[in-house]
Amino acid sequence: MSKAKASIRTPRAQVRGLGSAKHGVGHFIGQRGSAIALIFLVPWLLIGLRTRSAAATAAMMWIEVPLNGLAIFLALGAATYHMRLGMQVVIEDYISRPITRMILLILNTFFCVLLFAVAGYSVVVIAA
């Protein structure tokens, strides 16, 4: 009991195990790490997409260059990771109902992983 009184958390919160899940630092570092990667990858993509043309061939020829295909793969990998973390924070900020929150967090992960998979699949198909 004396241990419970030393904490600023209510006894009930302590029993329910609410509070830090000890994932905060990892989330913070992951968000910043992917941000730094995107500082380099996004301009590359923007310059590359400049070659985007009404004809499919020009876009595909740009993606077929190994370095560009890799850059797209890396950029969308970093982007989907970064946006999964970002959307997680938005959901946790605004959605307080536990079941709704949990469903949205899972959908968020599914959606970002799906986007990454489609992106990787497409780059491989175009390069092959």
């Binding site: 209510t10 009930r12 919160a13 609410l18 910043r32 941000a35 730094i36 995107l38 500082i39 996004v42 923007l46 997409l49 400049r50 985007r52 043309s53 009404a54 004809a55 499919a56 061939t57 876009a59 595909m60 993606i63 797209i72 969308l76 982007a79 989907t80 946006m83 970002g86 959307m87 938005v90 307080s96 959606f111 986007l115 489609v118 992106a119 699949y121 497409s122 780059v123 198909v125 175009i126």
Partner: protein
């Protein structure tokens, strides 16, 4: 979660309407809003990539939808969103490191990021030849 169970009266933070609007506040709100927009925009980029992988027919379909004036407005908004989130993200990395918190300086950098993003988005569209009737240095 303070309301649940304990019955304690916990202090609430001041609500939105008691704040005077200022540019660092706008910058912060825009950062989250553009992050949200980029979430949708990345899905569009992946769709574009997938359309290219599915062959010229699908790609032509995608291009047709993308060429519609309403889509063009959305895509320009997405361009601004990307540039803003990128530049303000760099600003945030400095803030995370504890630099740039003096009010006047923080306001100035927020204004600069906002201005550069508008200029940057316009420049990207001009250079990529996406503005109808304007052709600078090739593009589509």
């Amino acid at each position: 979660m303070a309301q649940i169970g304990t019955g304690e009266q916990r202090p609430l933070s001041p609500h939105l309407q008691v704040w005077r609007w200022h540019v660092t506040m706008l910058g912060s709100i825009l950062h989250r809003a553009t992050g949200f927009a980029n979430y949708v925009g990345v899905a569009l980029i992946v769709l574009w990539l997938f359309a290219a992988a599915m062959g010229p027919g699908r790609y032509a379909q995608y291009e047709q939808i993308a060429a519609h004036p309403i889509t063009q407005i959305i895509l320009f908004g997405f361009t601004f969103s990307i540039v803003y989130h990128l530049l303000n993200g760099v600003r945030h990395l400095f803030l995370d490191a504890g630099a740039g918190y003096k009010p006047a300086f923080a306001s100035m950098t927020a204004w600069i990021v906002l201005g550069l993003s508008l200029i940057g988005a316009a420049a990207i569209w001009l250079l990529a030849g996406l503005v109808p009737g304007v052709a600078i240095g090739g593009g589509a």
